[in-house]
């Protein structure tokens, strides 16, 4: 029992959680009263999910040994297409709830198309994920721009805005969604047979193939699932921002990679835990909000985040070295 606890603490996730506590404590000290206010905690709970879901989406792709640079543009393209339908239905006087449902279904459908595209190019044609998704990023951005002509899609029904701003029992709906997705992705990645295959493919796709795993199909499906997650993040963003535009959340892209790796995901695939990514997302959120409330220059906040990334990985390196 005792050794179990000790193991937990020295595990990557344990160290990360300690860092989270430390950062949280530090921010509380920096802006006494403000950071720890109920309002701020709730506000962070609204902000966290969209980024968190994108990070999880990025992470499962990284575990297969890939990367998805078209992540945020998948989210925005799907929210633009779905948003347009939703706004049109609602403008034509259609039932709000129905419009929302139709909108969400189309968002997820559109994202699935994006996922199918990426998945096909990566898995079946065999293009390096970085390049395939770089091309897809440009493509999706182009399609979005072509649809919006540079403007934003807005005029969503009131019901849709509730998704991003409503609460159930005092808990923000985005947070509830996020928790469901954490559990879902955890079951999927760490407990399901497909998840296990993903880890093995991430380590060595040839061995997986030689073991009768349908490697191409699983990689394809992973991009698909990751895109659906992106669409869910898109729903949250569109709802929270009351509009849809191709550039929303573009700053999340590299942050999502950073959060995955900070959370212990091996960038070359095969390793990574949902818990790690979630804690890393929380760390980044706390630093971002905390320093913003404290009033630090935004650029220095970036410096701090970059520094944290390097420091945490250095700690990982040193502990690993010591355990050897």
């Amino acid at each position: 029992m005792k050794s179990g606890v000790k193991k937990l603490i020295v595990s990557k996730e344990g160290i990360l959680f300690c860092i989270f506590l430390f950062v949280f404590f530090l921010m509380s000290l920096l802006s006494p009263g403000r950071f720890l206010s109920w309002y701020n905690l709730q506000s962070m709970a609204y902000q966290l999910p969209e980024f968190g879901i994108l990070a999880l989406s990025m992470m499962i792709v990284i575990v297969t040994g890939g990367i998805n640079l078209s992540l945020t543009y998948t989210a925005t393209l799907s929210m633009i297409v779905g948003g347009m339908v939703m706004a049109n239905i609602s403008a034509a006087g259609g039932n709000g709830i129905l419009a929302v449902l139709a909108g969400i279904v189309i968002m997820i459908g559109m994202a699935s198309l994006c996922g199918v595209f990426n998945g096909f190019v990566v898995a079946y044609i065999g293009v390096t994920p970085m390049l395939a998704t770089l091309g897809a990023m440009t493509l999706f951005e182009g399609i979005s721009l072509n649809i919006t002509k540079g403007g934003a899609i807005s005029g969503f029904p009131f019901e849709f805005l509730m998704i991003g701003s409503g609460t159930v029992l005092g808990i923000p709906i985005p947070m509830i969604l996020f928790i469901l997705i954490i559990v879902g992705t955890w079951l999927f990645l760490e407990r399901s047979k497909m998840g296990m295959s993903i880890y093995m493919i991430g380590c060595n796709p040839k061995v997986a193939l030689y073991s009768g795993v349908r490697v191409k199909r699983i990689i394809f499906q992973t991009y698909l699932i990751a895109s659906v997650l992106a669409a869910i993040a898109g729903v949250l963003m569109a709802s929270r921002y009351n509009s849809a535009k191709e550039s929303y959340g573009s700053s999340y892209l590299l942050q999502a990679v950073a959060a995955s790796v900070l959370g212990g995901t091996n960038i070359s695939g095969g390793e990574g835990k949902i818990a790690g990514t979630v804690i890393a997302v929380m760390i980044l959120q706390v630093i971002s909000s905390g320093l913003n409330i404290f009033g630090l220059n935004r650029y220095l906040t970036n410096v701090v985040m970059g520094g944290i990334l390097i420091v945490v990985l250095t700690i990982n390196f040193l502990t690993e070295k010591r355990s050897k």
Binding site: L187, R191, K206, V207
Partner: protein, 494 residues
């Protein structure tokens, strides 16, 4: 015999939970071929890694070369002192040309700033000459077959002017002819005063060239013996602690066809392959390296779909285009290259064994039953005697033989009807080998059809009921093994 070249004293190496080496000490002389033998996991590879500076021994150990103590050995230091190793995984560069793989080390060792492509070419040509090999210099190494890659590794060692050449199971992917050539080279190197440390699990090879034998057992030094002091049986009992020999299993004639291969052809791979595998039968498929045996096996398994030909399972036509279809149909394939094709090295034994049976250990909802996964792993680890007995151990940390057992377990766990094993006992010690033979025989007895691809004729003769011999992509002959001897097969394969 020459003078002492290397003195190894009190070398120990402890990995978490494993004492890989304990106080090992012996000498290697110039101009001798010194065999290092022991069961899988005895510590042979570990000792080599210490000699080559990859691992540091525990305090107290000492290595002396030509009277000079080698302290804090690094790979470069070791190389500079003339210790050259050919590892089990070759340690080559798939993206570089054959020439560079052979000759680049020279420039590094000489601490050159510039490379001279001319000089490299000369060095590579010379080394390949010594091996009597003809290869295109400029082809990226990754495009060569495993066998050729290994020859390149040997050529590289020659080019490095080794004083002590260490060969870790160098013959495992070589054909008889190539082994013979290698031995000739080893003997000529020996004549030039070079010391060779030679690791192999094949006793006939060991006796063919070795002057002295050093035996390790469970990380401990058992003794060093000269060739004339020992015979096979004594050597085995020193290694294993008991007596073992190849059991020649009784041959059967089976009637009931299981897998029928008809007119399999694939351009550039093989032509007109016809054979029938019966229920309860072991069919040996042999021939020289490069004869196309692996290609046939991979065609059956869906890795290398044929241009034409049909396959019948239980008399019903079966079309297989991907491995998962093969697995579903009950066909299993143990590949010849376990490091690249057989094992996910970064994952545990448990993850590896369960990889091919994820479907059967998971519930309808797609979640894996972890207790079932563990019990299945333990069952097979037990059955095949995988050491150390820790399902969480990473596959990369296992010794070669135990790695092979993990691969076999992975496939047995799928409860196949047809089992194809490609060089199943490659790198496996004699004790384990006979266990695997017995296992294969038992599986056959339970009704499986087994196709054994092996270059080792005694192995084929020991376990196979029938043998098919391949040459240049065609099956030349099929014979019953009853009453056959090695020469009968060899004469067909050449």
């Amino acid at each position: 015999m020459g003078r002492t070249l290397v003195e190894i004293e009190k070398i120990s190496k402890i990995f978490p939970g494993v004492k890989a080496l304990q106080n090992v000490g012996f000498n290697i002389n110039t101009g001798e071929i010194h065999a290092l033998i022991g069961e899988n996991g005895a510590g042979k590879s570990t000792l080599i890694k210490i000699l080559s500076g990859v691992y540091q021994p525990e305090a107290g150990g000492k290595i002396t070369m030509n009277g000079k103590v080698l302290e804090e050995l690094t790979p470069l230091e070791s190389l500079r002192n003339g210790i050259v190793v050919i590892y089990q995984d070759f340690s080559l560069f798939p993206n570089l040309s054959v020439m560079e793989n052979i000759a680049l080390g020279h420039s590094v060792e000489k601490n050159d700033t510039l490379v001279s492509w001319k000089a490299m070419e000369a060095i590579a040509a010379d080394a390949l000459d010594q091996l009597g090999l003809i290869l295109d210099f400029h082809v990226p190494l990754g495009e060569l077959s495993v066998a050729k890659q290994q020859l390149v590794a040997i050529a590289r060692a020659l080019a490095n002017n080794a004083k002590l050449l260490i060969l870790d199971e160098p013959t495992s992917s070589l054909s008889k002819g190539e082994v013979k050539k290698l031995f000739e080279i080893m003997l000529s190197l020996k004549k030039r005063g070079i010391a060779l440390l030679f690791i192999s699990h094949k006793l006939d090879e060991l006796f063919a060239v070795s002057d002295r034998f050093t035996v390790l057992r469970d990380g401990q030094y058992i003794g060093t013996y000269s060739e004339d002091e020992l015979d096979d049986d004594q050597l085995i009992s020193l290694m294993v602690g008991r007596k073992i020999e190849y059991t020649i299993y009784p041959k059967n004639k089976k009637e009931e066809p299981l897998l029928e291969i008809q007119n399999f052809s694939k351009k550039g791979n093989f032509q007109d392959i016809n054979f029938t595998l019966h229920k309860g039968e072991i069919l040996g498929l042999t021939g020289l390296v490069g004869a196309g045996r692996t290609e046939v096996a991979q065609a059956i398994f869906g890795l290398n779909p044929v241009d034409e030909g049909t396959m019948l399972l239980d008399g019903a036509p079966l079309v297989i285009n991907t491995p998962d279809e093969a697995v579903k149909a009950g066909i299993a394939y143990v590949p010849e290259n376990r490091l690249q094709e057989g094992l996910v090295l970064r994952k545990s034994i448990e993850d590896n064994i369960s990889l091919s049976v994820l479907d059967s250990i998971s519930a309808n909802n797609g979640l894996v039953d972890l207790t079932l996964k563990r019990s299945l792993t333990e069952k097979w680890m037990d059955q095949l005697g995988i050491r150390p007995n820790n399902p969480q151990m990473l596959a990369s940390k296992l010794s070669g033989g135990n790695q092979q057992r993990v691969v076999i377990s992975k496939w047995l766990a799928t409860e196949p009807r047809v089992l194809i094993v490609d060089e199943p006992t490659n790198g496996i010690d004699i004790g384990a080998k006979s266990e695997i033979h017995q296992l294969l025989r038992e599986l056959a007895a339970s009704g499986l059809g087994i196709l054994v691809i092996s270059s080792e004729l005694p192995e084929i003769l020991a376990i196979a009921d029938r043998v098919a011999v391949m040459r240049h992509g065609r099956i030349i002959t099929q014979m019953f093994c009853e009453g056959l001897n090695q020469e009968d097969i060899m004469s067909k394969a050449l």
